[in-house]
Protein backbone atom coordinates (compact mmCIF):
# COMPACT_ATOMS: atom_id res chain seq x y z
CA UNK A 1 0.00 0.00 0.00
CA UNK A 2 1.24 3.45 -0.75
CA UNK A 3 2.23 5.20 2.46
CA UNK A 4 0.78 8.46 1.23
CA UNK A 5 -2.77 7.10 1.58
CA UNK A 6 -2.89 6.84 5.34
CA UNK A 7 -0.63 9.86 5.74
CA UNK A 8 -2.85 12.10 3.63
CA UNK A 9 -5.95 10.71 5.28
CA UNK A 10 -4.46 11.53 8.68
CA UNK A 11 -3.45 15.00 7.56
CA UNK A 12 -6.95 15.77 6.30
CA UNK A 13 -8.54 14.34 9.41
CA UNK A 14 -6.27 16.48 11.55
CA UNK A 15 -7.19 19.59 9.57
CA UNK A 16 -10.89 18.79 9.99
CA UNK A 17 -10.29 18.46 13.71
CA UNK A 18 -8.54 21.84 13.72
CA UNK A 19 -11.50 23.38 11.97
CA UNK A 20 -13.92 21.83 14.43
CA UNK A 21 -11.96 23.01 17.46
CA UNK A 22 -11.97 26.54 16.17
CA UNK A 23 -15.47 26.69 14.75
CA UNK A 24 -17.74 24.83 17.15
CA UNK A 25 -19.57 26.75 19.79
CA UNK A 26 -20.65 23.97 22.13
CA UNK A 27 -17.71 22.91 24.26
CA UNK A 28 -18.61 19.23 24.01
CA UNK A 29 -18.36 19.48 20.27
CA UNK A 30 -14.99 21.12 20.59
CA UNK A 31 -13.87 18.15 22.65
CA UNK A 32 -15.12 15.83 19.93
CA UNK A 33 -13.02 17.73 17.40
CA UNK A 34 -9.99 17.28 19.61
CA UNK A 35 -10.69 13.56 19.50
CA UNK A 36 -10.57 13.74 15.72
CA UNK A 37 -7.15 15.38 15.87
CA UNK A 38 -5.84 12.73 18.22
CA UNK A 39 -7.22 9.96 16.03
CA UNK A 40 -5.47 11.44 13.04
CA UNK A 41 -2.24 11.17 14.98
CA UNK A 42 -3.06 7.57 15.85
CA UNK A 43 -3.55 6.68 12.22
CA UNK A 44 -0.23 8.28 11.41
CA UNK A 45 1.55 6.40 14.15
CA UNK A 46 0.11 3.03 13.21
CA UNK A 47 0.86 3.52 9.53
CA UNK A 48 4.44 4.59 10.22
CA UNK A 49 4.90 1.72 12.64
CA UNK A 50 3.85 -0.78 10.02
CA UNK A 51 5.86 0.94 7.31
CA UNK A 52 9.00 1.04 9.40
CA UNK A 53 8.46 -2.49 10.74
CA UNK A 54 9.68 -1.12 14.00
CA UNK A 55 10.95 -3.96 16.15
CA UNK A 56 10.10 -1.98 19.27
CA UNK A 57 6.67 -1.07 17.95
CA UNK A 58 7.09 2.43 19.27
CA UNK A 59 4.33 3.69 17.02
CA UNK A 60 1.76 1.18 18.13
CA UNK A 61 2.70 1.57 21.75
CA UNK A 62 2.35 5.31 21.52
CA UNK A 63 -0.99 4.82 19.77
CA UNK A 64 -2.26 2.81 22.69
CA UNK A 65 -1.02 5.43 25.08
CA UNK A 66 -2.67 8.15 23.05
CA UNK A 67 -5.99 6.34 23.06
CA UNK A 68 -5.85 5.94 26.83
CA UNK A 69 -4.76 9.51 27.19
CA UNK A 70 -7.61 10.71 25.03
CA UNK A 71 -10.06 8.74 27.14
CA UNK A 72 -8.67 10.25 30.33
CA UNK A 73 -8.72 13.70 28.79
CA UNK A 74 -12.27 13.48 27.61
CA UNK A 75 -13.42 12.21 31.00
CA UNK A 76 -11.84 15.07 32.83
CA UNK A 77 -12.79 17.53 30.11
CA UNK A 78 -16.44 16.62 30.32
CA UNK A 79 -16.32 16.98 34.09
CA UNK A 80 -14.97 20.49 33.62
CA UNK A 81 -17.62 21.29 31.02
CA UNK A 82 -20.34 20.10 33.37
CA UNK A 83 -18.89 22.19 36.15
CA UNK A 84 -18.90 25.21 33.87
CA UNK A 85 -22.47 24.46 32.92
CA UNK A 86 -23.50 24.15 36.56
CA UNK A 87 -21.98 27.47 37.54
CA UNK A 88 -22.63 29.46 34.39
CA UNK A 89 -25.70 27.85 32.86
CA UNK A 90 -24.03 27.62 29.51
CA UNK A 91 -21.68 25.36 27.63
CA UNK A 92 -21.00 27.81 24.85
CA UNK A 93 -17.32 28.46 24.66
CA UNK A 94 -17.65 31.99 23.37
CA UNK A 95 -19.67 33.11 26.34
CA UNK A 96 -17.01 32.18 28.85
CA UNK A 97 -15.06 35.39 28.75
CA UNK A 98 -15.31 36.64 32.32
CA UNK A 99 -11.60 36.10 32.88
CA UNK A 100 -10.48 38.07 29.87
CA UNK A 101 -8.41 41.14 30.51
CA UNK A 102 -10.79 43.51 32.29
CA UNK A 103 -11.84 46.45 30.19
CA UNK A 104 -9.19 49.09 30.62
CA UNK A 105 -11.52 51.90 31.42
CA UNK A 106 -14.29 49.99 33.09
CA UNK A 107 -14.90 50.34 36.79
CA UNK A 108 -13.32 47.78 39.07
CA UNK A 109 -16.27 45.47 39.17
CA UNK A 110 -17.05 43.03 41.88
CA UNK A 111 -15.96 39.59 40.87
CA UNK A 112 -18.78 37.78 42.50
CA UNK A 113 -21.30 39.53 40.37
CA UNK A 114 -19.18 39.50 37.26
CA UNK A 115 -19.12 35.74 37.50
CA UNK A 116 -22.79 35.52 37.18
CA UNK A 117 -23.54 38.44 34.99
CA UNK A 118 -20.82 38.78 32.44
CA UNK A 119 -21.84 35.60 30.73
CA UNK A 120 -25.32 36.96 30.36
CA UNK A 121 -24.20 40.47 29.63
CA UNK A 122 -22.49 39.49 26.45
CA UNK A 123 -25.25 37.29 25.18
Amino acid sequence: MHLAYPAVLAALLFAIGVYGVLARRNTVLVLMSVELMLNAVNLNLVAFDVWLRDALHGGQALTLFTITLAAAEIGLGLAIVLLVFRTRRTADIDRLTALGDPAEDGPAEDDETSDATSAEAVA
Partner: protein, 210 residues
Amino acid sequence: MSLLAAAGPLEPAARSFLSPTGVEIVFLLVGVAVLGAALVTVTTRQLVHAALWLVVALGGLAVEFLLLTAEFIAWVQVLIYLGSVVVLVLFGLMLTKAPIGRSPDADSGNRWAALAVGLATAGTLVTLVVDAFRTSWIDLGAGAGSAKATGEYLFRHWVLPFEALSVLLLAALVGAIVLSRRDDEGKKPRPRPGKLRAGKPVGTSSGKES
Protein backbone atom coordinates in the same frame (compact mmCIF):
# COMPACT_ATOMS: atom_id res chain seq x y z
CA MET B 1 22.05 3.75 10.41
CA SER B 2 18.46 4.26 9.62
CA LEU B 3 19.42 5.49 6.22
CA LEU B 4 19.88 1.88 5.28
CA ALA B 5 16.75 1.07 7.08
CA ALA B 6 14.63 3.67 5.39
CA ALA B 7 16.15 3.24 1.97
CA GLY B 8 14.20 0.12 1.27
CA PRO B 9 10.65 1.32 1.48
CA LEU B 10 11.52 4.56 -0.21
CA GLU B 11 12.31 2.70 -3.39
CA PRO B 12 9.44 2.78 -5.86
CA ALA B 13 10.49 -0.72 -6.83
CA ALA B 14 8.41 -2.46 -9.41
CA ARG B 15 5.13 -0.98 -8.29
CA SER B 16 3.36 1.80 -9.98
CA PHE B 17 1.10 4.35 -8.54
CA LEU B 18 -1.82 3.10 -10.56
CA SER B 19 -2.07 -0.52 -9.55
CA PRO B 20 -3.83 -0.55 -6.25
CA THR B 21 -4.50 -3.83 -4.64
CA GLY B 22 -7.75 -4.83 -3.03
CA VAL B 23 -6.59 -3.68 0.38
CA GLU B 24 -5.75 -0.31 -0.99
CA ILE B 25 -9.14 0.11 -2.58
CA VAL B 26 -10.89 -0.81 0.62
CA PHE B 27 -8.57 1.50 2.56
CA LEU B 28 -9.33 4.39 0.27
CA LEU B 29 -13.08 3.84 0.33
CA VAL B 30 -13.18 3.62 4.10
CA GLY B 31 -10.90 6.62 4.25
CA VAL B 32 -13.29 8.68 2.19
CA ALA B 33 -16.12 7.57 4.47
CA VAL B 34 -14.11 8.56 7.53
CA LEU B 35 -13.35 11.96 6.10
CA GLY B 36 -16.98 12.49 5.15
CA ALA B 37 -18.19 11.49 8.58
CA ALA B 38 -15.61 13.72 10.22
CA LEU B 39 -16.66 16.64 8.06
CA VAL B 40 -20.29 16.16 9.00
CA THR B 41 -19.27 15.89 12.64
CA VAL B 42 -17.71 19.32 12.63
CA THR B 43 -20.34 21.00 10.49
CA THR B 44 -23.74 19.55 11.39
CA ARG B 45 -26.11 21.73 13.28
CA GLN B 46 -27.71 18.87 15.12
CA LEU B 47 -25.47 18.36 18.08
CA VAL B 48 -26.50 14.80 18.81
CA HIS B 49 -26.02 13.84 15.21
CA ALA B 50 -22.49 15.14 15.47
CA ALA B 51 -21.79 12.59 18.16
CA LEU B 52 -23.26 9.82 16.01
CA TRP B 53 -21.20 10.84 12.99
CA LEU B 54 -18.17 10.79 15.24
CA VAL B 55 -18.98 7.15 15.91
CA VAL B 56 -18.91 6.51 12.19
CA ALA B 57 -15.60 8.29 11.76
CA LEU B 58 -13.92 6.53 14.65
CA GLY B 59 -15.36 3.19 13.65
CA GLY B 60 -14.03 3.73 10.16
CA LEU B 61 -10.65 4.40 11.63
CA ALA B 62 -10.83 1.11 13.50
CA VAL B 63 -11.32 -0.57 10.13
CA GLU B 64 -8.29 1.27 8.80
CA PHE B 65 -6.26 0.03 11.73
CA LEU B 66 -7.36 -3.51 10.92
CA LEU B 67 -6.34 -3.03 7.32
CA LEU B 68 -2.96 -1.85 8.53
CA THR B 69 -2.66 -5.13 10.48
CA ALA B 70 -2.87 -3.46 13.87
CA GLU B 71 -5.58 -5.74 15.19
CA PHE B 72 -5.20 -5.05 18.85
CA ILE B 73 -5.32 -1.31 18.38
CA ALA B 74 -8.41 -1.66 16.26
CA TRP B 75 -10.18 -3.53 19.06
CA VAL B 76 -9.02 -1.04 21.63
CA GLN B 77 -10.31 1.70 19.39
CA VAL B 78 -13.71 0.07 19.20
CA LEU B 79 -13.82 -0.67 22.91
CA ILE B 80 -12.60 2.64 24.26
CA TYR B 81 -13.88 5.09 21.69
CA LEU B 82 -17.13 3.56 20.61
CA GLY B 83 -17.78 1.91 23.93
CA SER B 84 -17.01 4.66 26.31
CA VAL B 85 -15.85 7.94 24.84
CA VAL B 86 -18.87 8.41 22.60
CA VAL B 87 -21.19 7.42 25.41
CA LEU B 88 -19.49 9.97 27.64
CA VAL B 89 -19.85 12.60 24.96
CA LEU B 90 -23.54 11.86 24.58
CA PHE B 91 -23.97 12.11 28.32
CA GLY B 92 -22.14 15.41 28.24
CA LEU B 93 -24.43 16.74 25.54
CA MET B 94 -27.50 15.73 27.48
CA LEU B 95 -26.33 17.05 30.81
CA THR B 96 -25.50 20.41 29.29
CA LYS B 97 -29.02 20.44 27.86
CA ALA B 98 -27.92 20.56 24.26
CA PRO B 99 -30.88 21.08 21.95
CA ILE B 100 -32.03 17.92 20.23
CA GLY B 101 -33.07 19.44 16.93
CA ARG B 102 -31.21 21.78 14.63
CA SER B 103 -29.58 24.58 16.51
CA PRO B 104 -28.88 27.61 14.38
CA ASP B 105 -25.90 28.73 16.43
CA ALA B 106 -23.90 25.53 16.54
CA ASP B 107 -20.95 27.34 15.04
CA SER B 108 -19.32 30.24 16.76
CA GLY B 109 -18.43 33.48 15.07
CA ASN B 110 -14.91 32.24 14.75
CA ARG B 111 -15.92 30.06 11.84
CA TRP B 112 -14.17 31.89 9.06
CA ALA B 113 -10.95 32.13 10.93
CA ALA B 114 -11.40 28.44 11.63
CA LEU B 115 -11.88 27.73 7.96
CA ALA B 116 -8.75 29.67 7.08
CA VAL B 117 -6.63 27.94 9.69
CA GLY B 118 -8.11 24.56 8.84
CA LEU B 119 -7.40 24.94 5.13
CA ALA B 120 -3.91 26.18 5.83
CA THR B 121 -3.31 23.19 8.07
CA ALA B 122 -4.64 20.80 5.47
CA GLY B 123 -2.56 22.37 2.74
CA THR B 124 0.63 22.36 4.77
CA LEU B 125 0.28 18.86 6.11
CA VAL B 126 -0.75 17.28 2.84
CA THR B 127 2.08 18.98 1.01
CA LEU B 128 4.51 17.81 3.65
CA VAL B 129 3.49 14.17 3.70
CA VAL B 130 3.03 13.85 -0.04
CA ASP B 131 6.44 15.37 -0.55
CA ALA B 132 8.00 13.06 2.00
CA PHE B 133 6.24 9.81 1.16
CA ARG B 134 5.74 10.06 -2.57
CA THR B 135 7.86 6.96 -3.11
CA SER B 136 7.17 4.97 0.03
CA TRP B 137 5.28 1.74 0.21
CA ILE B 138 4.02 -0.23 3.11
CA ASP B 139 4.65 -3.93 3.19
CA LEU B 140 1.63 -5.33 4.92
CA GLY B 141 2.95 -8.86 4.94
CA ALA B 142 3.94 -9.43 8.51
CA GLY B 143 1.19 -8.67 10.95
CA ALA B 144 2.61 -7.74 14.31
CA GLY B 145 -0.45 -6.23 15.84
CA SER B 146 -2.02 -9.19 17.57
CA ALA B 147 -2.88 -9.00 21.24
CA LYS B 148 0.00 -11.28 22.15
CA ALA B 149 2.56 -9.32 20.16
CA THR B 150 1.24 -6.12 21.60
CA GLY B 151 1.56 -7.38 25.17
CA GLU B 152 5.09 -8.47 24.45
CA TYR B 153 6.33 -5.19 23.09
CA LEU B 154 4.51 -3.18 25.68
CA PHE B 155 6.04 -5.05 28.55
CA ARG B 156 9.41 -5.49 26.97
CA HIS B 157 10.04 -1.95 25.86
CA TRP B 158 7.45 0.46 27.15
CA VAL B 159 7.00 -0.37 30.80
CA LEU B 160 7.75 3.12 32.09
CA PRO B 161 5.15 5.09 30.10
CA PHE B 162 2.71 2.30 30.71
CA GLU B 163 3.13 2.65 34.46
CA ALA B 164 3.00 6.42 34.26
CA LEU B 165 -0.25 6.07 32.39
CA SER B 166 -1.81 4.30 35.34
CA VAL B 167 -1.11 7.37 37.48
CA LEU B 168 -2.63 9.47 34.73
CA LEU B 169 -5.80 7.43 34.58
CA LEU B 170 -6.22 7.45 38.33
CA ALA B 171 -5.66 11.18 38.47
CA ALA B 172 -8.15 11.81 35.68
CA LEU B 173 -10.67 9.61 37.43
CA VAL B 174 -10.27 11.32 40.77
CA GLY B 175 -10.30 14.72 39.11
CA ALA B 176 -13.45 13.97 37.16
CA ILE B 177 -15.20 12.63 40.22
CA VAL B 178 -14.30 15.51 42.47
CA LEU B 179 -15.30 18.07 39.87
CA SER B 180 -18.66 16.55 39.11
CA ARG B 181 -19.53 15.84 42.72
CA ARG B 182 -21.99 18.32 44.10
CA ASP B 183 -21.19 19.79 47.45
CA ASP B 184 -22.84 18.29 50.48
CA GLU B 185 -24.12 21.64 51.56
CA GLY B 186 -25.60 22.14 48.15
CA LYS B 187 -23.93 25.48 47.67
CA LYS B 188 -20.61 26.67 46.43
CA PRO B 189 -17.99 27.14 49.06
CA ARG B 190 -17.87 30.73 50.10
CA PRO B 191 -14.70 32.38 51.19
CA ARG B 192 -14.65 32.25 54.94
CA PRO B 193 -14.63 35.64 56.59
CA GLY B 194 -11.42 35.78 58.50
CA LYS B 195 -8.74 37.98 59.85
CA LEU B 196 -7.14 38.23 56.48
CA ARG B 197 -10.08 40.00 55.07
CA ALA B 198 -10.67 42.33 57.93
CA GLY B 199 -12.24 45.51 56.74
CA LYS B 200 -13.50 44.10 53.52
CA PRO B 201 -16.90 42.68 52.74
CA VAL B 202 -16.80 38.95 52.42
CA GLY B 203 -16.70 37.69 48.91
CA THR B 204 -15.13 40.68 47.28
CA SER B 205 -12.47 40.19 44.73
CA SER B 206 -9.67 40.25 47.23
CA GLY B 207 -11.29 37.61 49.32
CA LYS B 208 -11.52 35.24 46.44
CA GLU B 209 -7.85 35.10 45.85
CA SER B 210 -6.55 33.95 49.16
